[in-house]
Symmetry: C2
Subunit: 257 residues, 2 copies
DNA sequence: CATATTTAACTAACTAGTTAGTAAAATAAT
DNA sequence: ATTATTTTACTAACTAGTTAGTTAAATATG
């Protein structure tokens, strides 16, 4: 287990192990939640002994918080990038809506962790999200608000509450992916299949072009432009599930002998 | 323990205990999830012995499924009622959007259970939701689709994908409540406080009036009409949480001795 | 050798589900 | 109507298994 020959020093190898633990944690926590994830499983996936988790991070919750922070790093940057692009406020907002849609499925782990954190927050648990408020959520929310206000002031967008536009836009994306397995049962077709997703992606932006732009013809043009400028990224992250029904649980073991 | 004098027969008392168990289950499961809820705690809250849960429902999952079905009964009726009201398609849709907003906070337990079920579905777990697909979700989705198509055909609503209108509308409501504890940390004000909620309720409908109606003046009128016809219901269901931070976990006990 | 990293072995606490038994109500027999 | 028998509703105590976290020893590495 003397690792790859490229890594020699003690420090480097330790850092690498640490990173492997974080990777495995993101994987396990995003799929099974804080309570559902098993430390033993994380250790195994990282190829280390369970006690090592407690050597690097003091507790399961500490590990969870670290995993959350490590995955959140990239989100802020890409989110702000679209909002600061060189384009009209309306176009920047559509770009950012599209980026949000794409990010949900390319970085599904992050989305999954966030959804579980929201539930935990409602229960009054979770310190884990607190640090991300300042580093990620506040900057993104604020910037988006500014862009929308700018678009409204310039007359490009309709004069409605910017937060409401935000809720409707992000909410649509969140709900699409969150409800996908349910809608699959309702409609028979899988919203996570690439074709369906590509269509939804297009309809999402076109809808915004028609709904929040004062001049709907202009909105349609901007939507088309944004869509043609940003092709759908490769299938990223939502781990495909087998047939919806039969599948033995993991987090809640059934033990009827 | 001969209970109240009004209940004499064995059968009646048994039905009552069964109902008490279901009530306690809804409470516990909605607050702690399937895995997080403790059978002992459910039994205690229902005032019965734990083994009785297994006498009435064969397993924890069976109890969960029964609780879910019992709470879902009311949702279909109220949802369909607004969609079938006597009004234009556009107005019926706004009514139904408003009913959805109100239902989320008056029947928070249902919403909470649904959100957790969505996550479970993504993991490939959950038979519990399957029966509700036919009895609740399919009828509601179908009817809403019909209403939207009617509104588009009549020219009252803009010609965009009906499903996209649904995602944007319901998604906005879901995200508002789901992200409330996070937004409270971001903005400092509590979205679940009654004043804020009343405002959001109004902005939600007004936004739809401006965004999905072909004639925005007409949309504004319909929105005002729907809002004045339906006052905000009394504070229903989201259990208020103390100060966001400090609060010992329940589902994931920390046992560092 | 001394220090940082890693592990095998262990434990204390907890939890879903079971079992064996009881009290009282319902039903059948006399 | 009284007694005997069966069924229903319910409980106390227990089992078997799981899991987060600890400890002390081992293994590199500088």
């Amino acid at each position: 287990m003397t690792a790859s020959p490229s890594i020699r020093t003690k420090r480097e190898r330790a850092d690498q192990t640490r990173a492997r633990i974080l990777d495995a944690s993101i994987h396990e926590f995003s799929e099974n939640g804080l309570a559902g994830a098993r430390t033993e499983q994380i250790a195994e996936a990282a190829g280390v002994n369970k006690a090592l988790l407690y050597y690097y991070f003091k507790s399961k919750e500490g590990l969870y918080a670290a995993a959350l922070e490590s995955i959140a790093v990239g989100v802020r940057a890409s989110g702000l990038a679209t909002l600061n692009a060189n384009a009209s406020a309306g176009e920047r907002f559509l770009k950012s809506a599209l980026e949000h849609f794409d990010r949900i499925h390319t970085n599904w782990r992050f989305q999954s962790l966030m959804q579980q954190e929201m539930v935990r927050l409602h229960r009054g648990e979770a310190h884990a999200l607190t640090p991300l408020v300042e580093t990620v959520f506040k900057p993104l929310t604020t910037r988006m608000h500014e862009v929308l206000l700018e678009g409204i002031a310039s007359g490009e967008l309709i004069d409605v509450d910017p937060s409401q536009i935000r809720y409707a836009t992000l909410g649509a994306n969140v709900l699409y992916f969150l409800s996908a397995p349910l809608m699959r049962m309702v409609s028979g077709t899988d919203p996570l299949e690439r074709g369906a997703m590509g269509l939804r992606r297009k309809l999402t932006i076109e809808f915004l072009g028609q709904s929040i732009f004062r001049d709907r013809k202009h909105g349609a043009k901007v939507a088309a432009q944004v869509l043609s400028a940003t092709p759908m990224p490769e299938n990223g992250g939502i781990p495909p599930r087998p047939t919806p029904e039969f599948r033995k649980n993991k987090s809640e073991k059934v033990r009827h002998l």
